[in-house]
Subunit: 295 residues, 2 copies
Amino acid sequence: MADLPKALADAAAEVEIMLDTVLAADGAPERRIYDAMRYTTLGGGKRLRPFLVMESARLFDVPKASALRAGAALELIHCYSLVHDDLPAMDDDDLRRGKPTVHKQFDEATAILAGDGLLTLAFEVLADAATHADAGIRAALVLALARAAGVRGMVGGQMIDLEAETKTLNLAEITELQKLKTGALIGFGCEAGAIMGKAPAKDRSALRAYADTLGLAFQIADDLLDVEGSVEETGKAVGKDANAGKATFVSLLGVVGARKKASELVDQAVSHLASFDARADLLRLTARFVVDRRN
Amino acid sequence: MADLPKALADAAAEVEIMLDTVLAADGAPERRIYDAMRYTTLGGGKRLRPFLVMESARLFDVPKASALRAGAALELIHCYSLVHDDLPAMDDDDLRRGKPTVHKQFDEATAILAGDGLLTLAFEVLADAATHADAGIRAALVLALARAAGVRGMVGGQMIDLEAETKTLNLAEITELQKLKTGALIGFGCEAGAIMGKAPAKDRSALRAYADTLGLAFQIADDLLDVEGSVEETGKAVGKDANAGKATFVSLLGVVGARKKASELVDQAVSHLASFDARADLLRLTARFVVDRRN
């Protein structure tokens, strides 16, 4: 039986080392921005997105060094998005992963630039020959990550989310928003292995379907944690959405309905992996994990 | 005799069409962020950076479609940097290219996200097969632009610039700052043609030397405009650096000294192009243009 908690912890440790490597400040012209980038990126987080890259890569026998670099690039994008999302003009959060957010620990200008630096570094990491010997794969990774992170992906979702503060979204709209805001990066995580492994189209679309379902389950769990979790468990402010009167899966479905929906999505996500052998077992367990987590 | 004003205007018109194409909002999930990205990118600017890409590409017979896409990607990076640089937490500027800045015309959150969207789109444009049939060249362009734009390039320079508000830099420090803040993107502009044309190393380093000198001349001219130009001419606030007590080439060298230095740099820049034939004539004229411009 695959041991997910151990696998997650092992992967997180390896990702941490890779992030530390790509964020090495040796010979850098300026230290403060590296301090801010390292402060927000290192030493925390579940590293779920890089884990998805590594597990999707495992299905196609992709070398671990390639998977780790692609996973680190994805995590850099995730981290930049948190830094910018926490800014006063955006969500105005003071706490992230149990620590002061970057603009509180440093200042707002540093947070803006550190986010820009992390975003740019992600593409530098992917385009570097160290990520994969095949330049076609490197270019395909850059293209896929840019699409997932950009205005037709995560950034577009964040914009819709901001606008949702002034109008109430229905279930279809919330689902679309989350598919972009959270789902797009999770989708890249699951497709990255297929890209690096030059997988058949049917495998790539199975992983895409798994990712879409997983992303939605992940977000419903996030909404449940916002209602039921504590600051101690989640390392960030809770109850924000409810207090802001924002529509969420929980406000639209109720706690019981949201929990039921999340559970159905877990089963669906697992069913999308039916064509894969035991090498997909950790991905199967991950679907359950994202709805059962406490942070 | 090459006609630089006409060549610049023609190139700007072609770049405008390409930018309009890559910023097409068809089927986009969210319109406001596209509105902001198009507002800040289209309809203005000298398009000097894309022009450098196109002229360096000309030296190696690179197809114009490739040069235009690489030039557009570079301009997207330049535009994002202006949007973030103008934010209240950064330079806090209200006016850019004669129009209200993005955070004044829209709002601060939209400006942060629009900048993130432009930055991400630049890499999407470069990685797309439409930019060049050779994936190795696409990956090399991504790598070079990410390095030029990131923490060891432009973003690092912006961070040093912010810190310069609290300490006075000397001439060597100002030169280093500007090499990163302004010079790195100009450097990519001049090297992009060599990358796409798989130029010999000696040609690439000649273009790099030209770019370094040109970038410095460009910045000295900017500092002179900040002292001598008008809001009407430059389309942005003037006298800001002097009022903020920031060290500039003008404060360190005086107006006459700065003008003399810029003129020497023009001659040096032209000398770096000695090995190229008449196809480099527009680049030669560009060196003079950047110090004589009034905006």
